[in-house]
């Protein structure tokens, strides 16, 4: 029974990582850059939802929608202002810029919302399910998180394989130059990718804060890093990989805490990453691309 409880907790935590990791992996796959500000977009999403519910007194669903809208716009603005001018620059320059944007968002939040932690009211009002005489309790947030994860996964897969924009994304990720020659607007495709990634970040932020109801300007950093690890673990650039990596990471983290050591859980998570990368450098589902010299 314990095992089952830990497994469900792990899948729930992993689902949040997976949704965040999707943002990392899509942006990396298409723009070939690591958007380290992604974790902080999560935090912005959390704050927007918090404000909508606590200050504007609107229902939770309005908070989620507003958070998605604001974060989508934020993602596009960040891309246009910070990353687009660096399209031809070295990847190191882009990486440093991304870290800069991350610090900018954190400090802006610190100025606006102040540093004291806010307690987030869960947007999910579904009661917990009790099974086996209350031995196994699954909270409403857990169910919603897992469901949201599955829905997002299905929608995203359909989007990339069926729609014109999705096909354009895949084309850009294969070969930017060739895609442009085929008449694909590369800049627009990248903007859309950022928009989708940031919108997902908002959902992840709301779910993260609903499950662990504390909100600070640094709320997004650690989950952001873990989700990045998840994306690499699953194979960065691969959408199913991000999903698999996220859930695996969540389960490993909870199991490590439960059965090995609560203090070493993070170390174990990162050690697993190192081992996987030693055996499969491209990640679990990553494509092995041989570089032409």
């Amino acid at each position: 029974m314990n095992l089952l409880t830990y497994l469900i907790n792990g899948i729930s935590l992993g689902s949040v990582y997976a949704i965040i990791a999707l943002g990392y992996t899509m942006v990396y796959g298409i723009a070939k850059m690591l958007n380290f500000a992604h974790g902080d977009v999560i935090m912005v999403g959390g704050y927007i939802c918090f404000i909508t519910m606590n200050y504007l007194h609107m229902p939770g669903i309005a908070g989620v929608l507003l958070a998605v809208v604001v974060c989508t716009i934020l993602g596009i603005v960040i891309e246009k202002l910070a990353y687009k001018p660096l399209r031809q620059a070295t990847s190191l320059a882009v990486l440093i810029t991304a870290i800069g944007v991350s610090y900018f968002l954190q400090n802006a939040a610190l100025l606006i919302f102040k540093a004291d932690p806010k307690v987030f009211t869960s947007v999910v009002n579904i009661p917990s399910i009790k099974l086996f005489d209350g031995q196994l309790v699954i909270s409403g947030v857990t169910l919603v998180t897992i469901a949201a994860n599955i829905i997002i996964m299905v929608c995203l897969t359909a989007f990339t394989s069926k729609t014109k924009m999705g096909k354009a994304m895949r084309a850009v990720s294969e070969d930017k130059g060739a895609a442009q020659l085929m008449g694909i607007d590369v800049n627009r495709t990248i903007s859309v990718t950022f928009a989708i990634g940031s919108g997902l970040a908002a959902i992840a932020g709301v779910l993260l804060c609903s499950a662990y109801p504390t909100l600070m300007p640094t709320t997004g950093s650690m989950p952001g890093i873990k989700a990045f690890v998840a994306a690499v673990l699953g194979g960065i650039g691969s959408i199913p990989g991000a999903m698999l990596g996220g859930i695996l990471l969540g389960i490993i983290e909870i199991f490590a805490k439960a059965y090995i050591s609560t203090q070493l859980s993070d170390a174990i998570v990162f050690a697993v990453l190192i081992i996987v990368l030693l055996i499969r450098p491209a990640g679990l589902l990553g494509k092995k691309i041989s570089e032409k010299v």
Partner: protein
């Protein structure tokens, strides 16, 4: 030609060096003048009487995750300073508050800023980890320091100039175990603590030692670190599986609020017993106070107490800052009054240097007949190692406010 160039270069270098020196000279001259002026002004105000205007520094986290504590100590000290100055006596205080974001390095920088300002005594720092770093500095500089709330024994260990207004962590751990045992609050006890935090670990260790002596049944011990302080499902689940009916939480309020929430989501309702770091949980923005219903904690101060001193303090605090003071505010308030009492008793004056003041105040604080009555205790005395002696009170949260337990 080459020689000319060399000569020119030398001359230029000379000029620049001179300019720099002049620059340095004039600026230091300026600041000298300023301090002269300041002392003159102080002397004028003093009017030849004993006492004068003392410069008190305060350091605490005014921003950041622990800002609730820093702001509380800052406000508490400010009220005490205001009251003392309003008395119009010979002893006047000037308070300068600096932010350390609960970070050791920033705290030492803040301390150096205060020294430049001319601080003579330090009320601080508010939190333990920065305080350990700052206490080492004050000890080297011979600056008198009294901390309202840094409760680890490491803060005062081997430093004769550092005193505490709050209980030490070990005392809190020991007192908590005793209290749980005497009041028979729990049959099976679980402990969750922050292994990355000196405060939390300190209380935990003493609690365990005392629990063993008393024969308390501790069925589950688990820990977390600052980096994984969001998901407590595993730790709470462990306690639940072990059948614990009381969870002891030696930690600050922010992780505690998450533990309360996650236990609630699991449908697990043990008793919760906290320490003084739990104080403040009710003031978190958006916190569902029902979760904290029935949470017990040991704290020397309750805002709902009926004595005149507390009432006066709480009214002033609420008027000025629009919120109910927590224990940290009361500790800082008492710190300033303890300094006031010690200055009166030892007869130090504001024109003395900080190390002279330090030696005299140490002698006064450790003298057996020096006692202070304050918000957080009556007849408080200090041992030579800087620890305070006073009795803790048990509190329980009922209908969103603290109520005395007994």
């Amino acid at each position: 030609m080459k020689k000319m160039k060399k000569m020119m270069a030398l001359a230029m270098a000379g000029c620049m060096a001179f300019a720099l020196a002049a620059c340095g000279g004039s600026s230091s001259g300026g600041s000298d003048k300023q301090t002269e002026k300041a002392t003159e002004a102080a002397a004028a105000e003093e009017g030849g009487a004993a006492g004068g205007t003392f410069k008190i520094g305060h350091i605490g986290p005014l921003t950041g995750a622990a800002s609730l504590y820093g702001l509380a100590t800052d406000h508490g000290a400010a009220i005490a300073v205001e009251e003392i100055n309003a008395l119009g006596g010979d002893i006047q205080f000037e308070l300068n508050s600096q932010d350390d974001v609960h970070d050791a390095e920033t705290s030492v920088n803040a301390y150096n800023n205060l020294k430049d300002w001319g601080m003579q005594m330090l009320v601080g720092t508010t939190t333990t980890t920065p305080c350990i770093a700052v206490a080492a500095e004050t000890n080297g500089d011979r600056m008198f320091e009294i901390t309202p709330s840094a409760s680890s024994p490491t803060v005062t260990e081997g430093k004769d100039n550092v005193f505490q207004m709050c209980f030490t962590d070990p005392n809190q751990g020991t007192a908590s175990a005793k209290y749980i045992y005497e009041q028979k609050l729990g049959e099976k006890i679980a402990v969750i603590y922050n292994v990355a935090d000196a405060y939390s670990t300190g209380i935990y260790q003493k609690f365990m030692t005392e629990a063993e002596t008393l024969g308390l049944n501790v069925v589950s011990e688990s820990s977390f670190t600052d980096d994984n302080a969001t998901d407590f499902s595993t730790q709470v689940n462990e306690a639940k599986n072990a059948g614990a009916d009381l969870i002891f939480l030696p930690m600050y309020y922010q992780p505690a609020s998450l533990i309360l929430d996650q236990a609630n989501k699991m449908g697990y309702t043990p008793k919760f017993f906290g320490v003084d770091g739990m104080d403040g949980i009710l003031d978190m923005e958006g916190f569902n106070k029902e979760l904290a219903e029935g949470v017990m904690l040991l704290t020397p101060f309750v805002a709902t107490a009926e004595d005149d001193l507390t009432k006066n303090f709480v009214t002033k605090y609420e008027e000025k800052y629009g919120e109910t003071p927590i224990q940290f505010a009361a500790d800082a308030y008492d710190c300033v009054y303890a300094l006031y009492a010690a200055i009166q008793k030892s007869g130090v004056t504001a024109d003395m240097s900080s190390d002279e003041i330090c030696e005299k105040l140490i002698a006064t604080f450790t003298a057996g007949d020096f006692t202070v009555d304050g918000l957080t205790g009556t007849g408080m005395t200090w041992a030579a190692n800087g620890e305070v002696a006073k009795d803790p009170k048990g509190m329980v949260i009922e209908n969103g406010v603290y109520q005395p337990l007994d």
